[in-house]
Amino acid sequence: MAGKKTGRLLGALILLALIGTPFKAFGLSEAYQGNIFSVGILKPKDSHLKVKIGDRAPDFTLPAVSGGKITLNHYQGKKNVVLSFVPAAWTPVCSDQWPGYNIVQGLFLEHEAVLLGITVDNLPTLFAWTNQMGKLWFPVLSDFWPHGLVADRYGVLRSDGTAERALIIIDKKGIIRYIDVHDINKRPRLETLVRELEKLEK
């Protein structure tokens, strides 16, 4: 009993130490001028995938920040698709992910791929947030209502209603070729994504 208690106490103390650690690495761009909400360290993954490599990607239609709607199946036979789910607008790592993709449009074009950025935020929030990133070349989609429906269909909706930081590559046939449900606290390295895109052509 005493051992259990000590264990719990130790756990709580470690957790406290972690929460207390300032989250220094992300969302530091002056572009956001202190508007990034500090989330601390989160549970790395908090959902169960409902799709696997080789599956047909579940179709969806979502509204885009730039206006209109985007339907996944419309790309079938034409383009590879990279879905980039990020947890939420105005949070540290996410604010640091899409601006990077924004300067590598050429890498996506080279591999005949489109990028679709998705969060569970509503359109006005996404509008204000993505405006700080400069002009994005790829569509940003809102999976706000019914809340997180698409994220849930893929199994990347977390228990608090945000999405995982997940990258999913769907080939021209509509088949899922790569899934990375990343540690939510970390940004996936760009070279990993590029390497996976290179594999598609083989």
Binding site: S29, E30, P99, L190, E191
Partner: protein
């Protein structure tokens, strides 16, 4: 049991304080700057620019110059992307001025970026000066975890000390006035 808890609390306090110490503070003008160790660039032009030979690593004092302007950036930071052409202009303004060429060198440190990501930034903005990856945020922590873009100018003294002459967050606004300011602070003219 109580002793164990006490020891645990002590341990936690120690851990959290050591984290704080490791974080460092942003450099301030007049202070000494840490002699950062960086990998010698493979690109012969960059190597020559820094006045280095061979392989392995070098430290700031080895750079053949009197002043180094260090840009702390991230490939993922929108303002750093916007700033990139301006810093290229700054580099050119130095290289085209016979009175300054060789006396002021520019380099960039990509915080939280892999070498690949730094390479993308370099290629995308045709950056002529050397950029280094700080993927594990070692320098970033030494520099107090500053926001980006951040600019530090240091003067390398003959006695091998490195002194901060400029340290500010945000855009340099205009290349030539910024260069004049650095030149004045460094007492180069």
């Amino acid at each position: 049991m109580k002793r164990l808890i006490f020891l645990l609390i002590l341990l936690c306090l120690f851990l959290s304080s050591s984290l704080l110490w490791a974080a460092g503070t942003p450099p301030r003008p007049g202070e000494l700057f840490p002699d950062l160790s960086l990998p010698i660039p493979k690109n012969p032009k960059e190597k020559a620019y820094l006045g280095l030979t061979g392989d392995g690593s070098f430290t700031l004092v080895q750079v053949k110059t009197q002043v180094v302007i260090i840009e702390i950036f991230s490939m993922y930071c929108p303002y750093c992307q916007k700033e990139a052409p301006l810093i290229n202009e700054l580099y050119r303004a130095i290289e085209e001025d016979p009175g300054l060429k060789g006396k002021i060198k520019v380099l960039g440190i990509g915080v939280g970026n892999s070498s690949f990501e730094v390479g993308i930034f370099k290629k995308n903005y045709s950056i002529p000066f050397p950029l280094f990856a700080d993927e594990d945020l070692i320098f970033h922590q030494t520099l107090g975890g500053v926001r980006t873009p951040y600019f530090v100018a240091v003067k390398l003294d003959k006695d091998k000390t490195i002194r901060v002459i400029f340290s500010e967050l945000g855009s340099i606004h205009k290349a030539k006035p910024f260069l004049q300011k650095i030149t004045k602070l460094a007492e180069l003219q």
